[in-house]
Amino acid sequence: MKCQRCQREATYHITELTGSEPVELHLCPQHAQEYLNPASSAAVGPATMATALAQHMAQQMGLGQAAQELEQLDQQTCPVCGITFHEFRSRGRLGCPHDYIAFEKQLDPLILNIHGEGTHVGKVPKRSARGSERRIQLIRLRREMTEAVAEEDYERASRLRDEIRRIEESEV
């Protein structure tokens, strides 16, 4: 299939859903880059998660990442909730607070792209951030406990349950 803007082969197939009807675009790498990164745009970032992700992909491609490398990046998993980066990319939503750390390398440029900034300025909860960190581990522990029960490894399940209780109660 030919690129809609030139005679080269179209390797990018983009469906735009921002208007009243879906628009299908078929572009070569160069025109895809131009489309996804309009140099004239003075706005800080893309309006939607989908556009941000598309731009991110284009940038990765632009950096000459081989298809294999990209597949590896896509298979990256969060140890706490189990979501893969690929799953995040297709839904535009993350699986748990720890994903921001597990996928840091991929997410930080994405976040910079969206907000133009990378560091939070503003309200902070009265409880320390460390309290938050400790409790995020509960997500993983609960998930492991469910798995242990499913595998009928009740000893492991009960050890996990005790650890969970310990953390839950220490927060009061």
Partner: protein, 357 residues
């Protein structure tokens, strides 16, 4: 208090009072928050969702006296009731249409509504009539503090409040103002305004937020960036631009009055005429005509009608409201007849009041 009680009340933001309320309908601030120890909604199991709902229900009940707060299990609500809440801007369309354990807490004055298990575990929203961002912030900040005393939010020292979608990370705040801009639409200046707003990373949306059309010439202006700026900065950015747009709208209206007074008066009068006499009318047409009438009232071209009444009609003629007010379920054709009857009834009351002067 029950959901049905809302049909007899006028929501806070419909009061039609508040600063600049000829053009500014309402000010709204929303905060997105998540618990630290549960997955975000996409990865949450049914059991997780139940637990999250239970934990947050307890935390949220602490905000107000029990008789001032209504807590609704959205999963169990009939479709009509959910639609009713969407029309009233108390829950999002997503919240009404999704599945799984989820709820909403609303106060009797409809100044705040707190969604549980929407895109994030917690979506707190406060709405005030007119341009009133600072006091809207004060109220939502207090609510956030009260809830935070009882739970641990997911928070990262560098990235701020952690949200399911990276577009909300950091402050998790969406500050928006809803404006009525029929002058700019008629004078064909509205696109220019959008483009200049986009350049300073402000988003423009229709009456019901993300993905909605601009019905009735209502537009919501809101921030897009949530990270790297403080809440006060974002509020200031949105708050500073509103007077500029109000000015454009006033200028557009003055221009129309000056340059085509008869046409404008005719347009407004015909709109008023149709609304008062039609026998069947769709909600799209109603929105469009009410918008002209609202501008007519603002410009003094219609003298026997008040803004709060017009504001109310926008809401009461919507599909679910109409059915709940009349107490019957109606299909589209019957609704159009009922809507026309409702309008005739409410608008004739007004003009007979006027004629008694």
């Amino acid at each position: 208090m029950e959901l049905d009680d809302l049909t007899r009340r006028r929501g806070e933001w419909l009061r039609g009072s508040g600063p600049e309320s000829d053009i500014v309908i309402s000010s709204r601030i929303r905060l997105a928050r998540n618990l630290a120890d549960y997955p975000f909604i996409t990865k949450a199991t049914d059991q997780d969702r139940s637990r999250i709902e239970k934990i947050l229900r307890e935390a949220v009940m602490g905000i107000d006296q029990p008789d001032r707060l209504m807590y609704l299990d959205v999963e169990r609500l009939p479709t009509l009731d959910r639609q009713f809440l969407v029309e009233r801007h108390l829950i999002s369309r997503e919240h009404a249409e999704s599945h799984g354990a989820r709820a909403v807490a609303i106060d009797v004055d409809e100044t705040y509504s707190i969604m549980i298990n929407e895109e994030d575990h917690l979506r707190i929203q406060v709405m005030h009539s007119g341009l009133d961002l600072q006091s809207t912030w004060d109220q939502i900040n207090r609510i956030d503090d009260i809830i935070e005393q009882r739970v641990t939010y997911a928070f990262h020292p560098r990235l701020g409040y952690l949200t399911a979608c990276p577009t909300n990370v950091g402050t998790g705040i969406r500050v928006s103002v809803m404006l009525h801009l029929p002058g700019l639409v008629l004078a064909r200046q509205i696109e220019k305004v959008f483009r200049s707003l986009q350049k300073i990373s402000l988003a423009v949306r229709g009456l019901y937020g993300e993905g909605s059309q601009a019905m009735g010439d209502f537009y919501q202006i809101s921030n897009q960036v949530t990270l790297g700026r403080s809440e006060q900065d974002i509020i200031k950015q949105v708050g500073d631009i509103v007077p500029v747009i109000i000015n454009y709208e006033r200028q557009a209206r003055e221009f129309l009055v000056r340059e085509s007074h008869e046409n404008l008066h005719d347009r407004v009068s015909r709109a008023y005429g149709i609304l008062r006499t039609a026998q069947t009318i769709s909600s799209e047409e109603t929105m469009s005509l009410l918008s002209s009438v609202r501008m007519g009232v603002n410009l003094g071209l219609i003298e026997d009608l008040e803004i709060p009444t017009v504001n109310e009609l926008f809401i009461q003629t919507q599909p679910a409201h109409l059915q709940k007010i009349t107490g019957t379920e109606l299909d589209s054709a019957d609704r159009n007849i009922e809507r026309a009857r409702f309008l005739r009834q409410h608008l004739s009351k007004q003009s007979s009041k006027g004629n008694n002067n």
